[in-house]
């Protein structure tokens, strides 16, 4: 996913001479192709995320299209006020790129788990919040955000995520993508955990449950039209994210559902409960332990259907 991002960034930098990339001293063996192609537009701010973020604002105010790049919470939470007061209040052309969504850096521990960033970023006015579900979505989202030219948070998997779309999808702001059709249950997923949602959806359909799967890379703007349609047509909406169940993608879906008068569906939220991830393990293990892997999605959906 991160390599798809860098490939796309290289393509964009070729056509846009204003495009600049600032790293917070991370991206070894990932950003080297950008540095080699555009050394004059590559800046290493050092291990200084507050500087990186405010500096991106200054560059954007002088006409640049700026990308800040770092891992997990470093480009978001470490410099939150710089994002709020500088980038977002001034509506600057800065895209904040975070690699390692959720448990992407599993065994490195809690400091490297991005599990509250979506909730916090989506609370900021002017901010677009995007977490693509596979490498294809990453390409489409990176291009779309560049056209947008305003504050954006692009939350990527660490790498090695499977391609779930057959080809490059047509992506639009506030629009989800259907991967599997279904009528009874709808799984809506945000971010690289789409691969788990995909497997869960296949298991449910194999059990004879008509289950749809949608990837919604944009938490903000949310595909409210789709949520409304699903709320009226399905009995159950299962929202899936590798993030706290508080305030993020599931929160955004729930907020919208709460205002619908004639909905049929209820929602269950798959994600990290209100806790820190303190157990040691790789991404697959932590998804399992914290009950957001495909089996957990499958089991929780089945359990909910049994009750209703």
């Amino acid at each position: 996913m991160r390599n798809s991002f860098v490939d796309t960034l290289l393509e964009l930098a070729t056509s846009d001479p204003q495009l600049c990339l600032i790293t917070g001293d991370l991206g070894y063996n990932v950003l080297n192709r950008f540095y080699e192609s555009f050394p004059e537009r590559y800046i290493n701010a050092g291990i200084a995320e507050q500087l990186m973020t405010s500096m991106a604002t200054g560059m954007a105010l002088a006409g640049k299209s700026v990308y800040t790049y770092s891992l997990a919470n470093f480009p978001s939470l470490r410099c939150l006020e710089q994002i709020r007061n500088d980038i977002c209040y001034h509506n600057c052309n800065v895209t904040i790129v975070s690699v390692g969504a959720g448990f992407g850096y599993g065994s490195l521990g809690m400091s490297h788990h991005a599990t509250e960033d979506v909730a916090i970023m989506r609370a900021l006015p002017n901010m677009i919040v995007c977490s693509p579900g596979d490498p294809w979505e990453t390409v489409a989202a990176t291009r779309l955000l560049h056209q947008h030219g305003g504050p954006a948070f692009l939350r990527l998997g660490k790498g090695g995520e499977p391609r779930l779309h057959a080809t490059l999808p047509q992506l639009a702001f506030g629009k989800g993508l259907c991967l599997i059709e279904g009528s009874e249950v709808a799984i809506v997923s945000n971010g690289p955990i789409l691969s788990e949602a995909y497997k869960a959806c296949q298991l449910l359909n194999a059990d004879g449950i008509s289950c749809a799967l949608y990837s919604l890379p944009f938490v903000k703007p949310l595909d409210t039209e789709l949520i409304e349609k699903l709320a009226r047509s399905c009995v159950l909406i299962v929202s899936v994210e590798e993030h706290s169940i508080i305030g993020g993608f599931s929160g955004a879906v729930a907020e919208h559902l709460a205002g619908l008068r004639d909905r049929r569906a209820i929602q269950i939220r798959i994600g990290l409960q209100d806790r820190y991830s303190s157990i040691v393990g790789d991404q697959a293990y932590l998804r399992q332990v914290y009950e957001m892997d495909h089996l957990a999605i499958y089991n929780k959906t089945k359990a909910e259907l049994a009750i209703s």
Partner: protein
């Protein structure tokens, strides 16, 4: 308008604006009045009719709480009518207590939380240099503000990258919100710190216009950013406010403002 006249008018406006609005921060505004006046009357390349003129110099007030001095300078330079200053801090006004760019022509950056301005200045300076543009970037900081770690992130970067189009001016009045800088977190040796971060450093009397003018001249450095440590007096120009921390926050009463204005009535060259 000479810089002396502008400084005098900034002080008068600052007093009236603070009194009328019930706002605080008269002390810091008086502290930077001379620096702001020299910048806005003689140093900055500006076009009040076209605030986003691409050849302009950039000025950032990083210590946004002293924004009344900048609002007054902008009005005096014709960016917006002086009458608008009367609405400072009022419901529905564009002029809030910490300097804001929203609907205020001439303000480049909204600040208020300390420690942001220098790093934004780095970004401006870097982008201008990338584009081979001659514009300069000036950032006015507080000395207490230098407690913020983000200042030193920016100082390290600017020194390393030799951002010679960047000028930091420090309003060194030696006082911060809760006491003397020396008692809160001693900044000394202050000049040496900036030198150690590879900045060209000058120390001037922040109320002497000739000294400020000279220090702010372009072309003095080719290969390093400039830090001007301007020794100032909080509350400068009003005898009973000088070096008195009370006036960082206290809103002056009608009687106090009358007294203060009487002192200023002696004219722009009385200091």
């Amino acid at each position: 308008m000479t810089s002396q006249e502008m400084a005098w008018k900034i002080r008068k406006h600052a007093l009236s604006m603070t009194y009328r609005s019930g706002a605080s921060h008269i002390g810091p505004a008086l502290s930077i009045a001379d620096i702001v006046a020299v910048l806005y009357s003689e140093v900055l390349k500006l076009n009040p009719k076209q605030p986003d003129w691409q050849d302009r110099d950039y000025f950032i007030l990083s210590k946004g709480h002293a924004g009344i001095a900048v609002y007054a300078a902008l009005a005096l330079r014709g960016f917006f009518p002086e009458a608008e200053l009367e609405h400072y801090y009022a419901n529905g006004s564009n002029l809030c207590g910490h300097v804001s760019h929203k609907n205020v022509p001439g303000v480049e950056l909204s600040t208020g939380s300390l420690g942001h301005g220098l790093a934004v200045g780095n970004g401006l300076a870097l982008a201008l240099r990338m584009d081979k543009r001659p514009n300069r970037v000036f950032v006015l900081l507080g000395d207490g503000e230098c407690d913020e770690g983000s200042i030193w992130e920016a100082a390290l970067f600017a020194g390393h990258h030799r951002l010679s189009n960047l000028v930091a001016i420090i309003d060194h009045n030696k006082m911060q919100a809760m006491g003397d800088c020396s008692s809160v977190a001693n900044l000394e040796p202050f000049e040496d710190k900036w030198k150690a971060f590879n900045w060209r450093t000058k120390r001037v009397d922040g109320h002497q216009h000739d000294a400020l003018r000279h220090a702010l001249e372009p072309g003095l450095t080719q290969d390093s950013p400039t830090c001007i440590i301007a020794d100032t007096i909080k509350g400068k120009g009003i005898s009973f406010m000088e070096n008195n921390l009370l006036w960082h926050y206290r809103n002056p009463s009608e009687q106090i403002v009358k007294q203060a204005l009487e002192e200023l009535e002696q004219g722009p060259n009385a200091q």
